[in-house]
Symmetry: C2
Amino acid sequence: MKIVVTGAAGFLGKRLIRALLERGSMTDSAGERRPIEHIAAFDVVPLEGIDDARVQVSTGDLADPAHLERLVDAGTHSVFHLAAVVSGQAEQDFDLGMRVNFDATRALLERLRALGQRAKFVMTSSVAVFGGALPACVDDSQVWAPQSSYGTEKALADLLLADYSRRGFVDGRSLRMPTIVVRPGKPNRAASSFASGIIREPLNGEPAVCPVDPRTVLWLMSPLRAIDNLIHGHELPAAQLSAGRVINMPGLSITVADMVASLRRIAGDEVAARIAFTPDPAIERIVNSWPGNFSARYARSLGFVHDDGFDSVIRAFIADASTVAA
Amino acid sequence: MKIVVTGAAGFLGKRLIRALLERGSMTDSAGERRPIEHIAAFDVVPLEGIDDARVQVSTGDLADPAHLERLVDAGTHSVFHLAAVVSGQAEQDFDLGMRVNFDATRALLERLRALGQRAKFVMTSSVAVFGGALPACVDDSQVWAPQSSYGTEKALADLLLADYSRRGFVDGRSLRMPTIVVRPGKPNRAASSFASGIIREPLNGEPAVCPVDPRTVLWLMSPLRAIDNLIHGHELPAAQLSAGRVINMPGLSITVADMVASLRRIAGDEVAARIAFTPDPAIERIVNSWPGNFSARYARSLGFVHDDGFDSVIRAFIADASTVAA
């Protein structure tokens, strides 16, 4: 089978491709287990660091129909669509965010519809679709009320994926991801970038700025669990998706203060002292509009997993950093 | 001020234009009351039957940028966007529904954004955005889960309107309308068409088919209250819209059996006997996915109105039919 991965050069994309190569086979939409013969790894920058004959790297513009036709073809059984403009950037550049986060997703869905093979389409959505007056623990029946263009674009894509699946154009699954922590590499323009930065930078001997109040409650998932869930979300039979194709993932609800306490426990006072708390109202406004806890009842019933505690998340990051290039 | 009305030749469009002409003035987004100098009445078929120098009739394609530029110009203070492909047709022709119900709405919002005047933008949405497992009475916090492409397209437009408003591109208000009953004229391809047909046709001496079970609960609003609410929705100051721009309207929750009983009370047994109950599974599937009752708490707090009972809805239809061309 051929699997397309967009956002392949990102830290999740790269880890997903490694996990797929290691598994060696996946289940198609007819429920048949097939060997993975090709992985088309697409991103705006070329994927590097994976040397496997099954992986074809390409770059380009997803909204360009000619490129899309080459990338997604009649042999494509599955697409993992991870490519996105992050929240801070989508807020700054509305047109770019709409084009990448919505129009490109629509173009991908249209391409799969035209091919007529009901391919599996696994996408990452975001808790940024929620906002406004929210209960302490958000249930699966909670209305979407995005307070950012990123959240709006993810909600638009979710609706489209659900209708394309209902009509049988694709076999879609959208996973509403918590904030993924600890991301490796450099800070990015996501409003949530600090959530990884306050762990990663101090561990690397560098200073970090926390732009939100330590009492801020975050909803987190580690990269390891994210990959587990992406693969699980792909493998679930369509018949089990009784409550729809858009699934709020389980996660870890934790305050920033408890994250720092965890870092202090594992790495010591000197490391934790590298975090400076300097409020940034623009980031606080976006981050505080995101819920800090979810019931994720539907996802749990489907067997999606979450991290047991933040200490193990930090330990996994340290272990990962020592074995994987960022 | 100039007001653009799309879907102007429809029964709501026509009644809205008459109501606007009668009022003579409306409030712009700065809160200033202005005389209505121009109403640009757009539809795919020309508006007929309104003879007033303030009304300019045009036809064309809303998704065509050249047409849109002529229709919506720097003098446009407000747009009432009522044009839509109805639910049954949008389900049959996915591309047409997306183009009219979503792409044309987006093009309109983009045009207003480009003009940079934060024009008022009042749109009709639909209870078809809801579906799946629902409580007996749907609250404003209920998640959207459309079970039709029409519902999906209306939810997409709602999300866009909300973000364009949040960013200050437009001053938008989307009114989630109940099924409008009694519509004058002929049956259309809306799945809800029968809800008017079972009252209208018997009163006109014609047979009617009811494709759903008499126990089906519908959520209704009369054309009179719909016009009241469209104008109220336009006039509300933006500062009052504390819980967002997408508003579930209040309505009348009633079973089909009670609608028929009301018709019998007002028009007699002979008239009510003109209704034949012949189930249509395709229509039942769509109609049964729509909730039959809403709290509409937010809308009520904002002063939106609903019908007091179905007898008065029928009486208003009879009075309207004798004074207004369909």
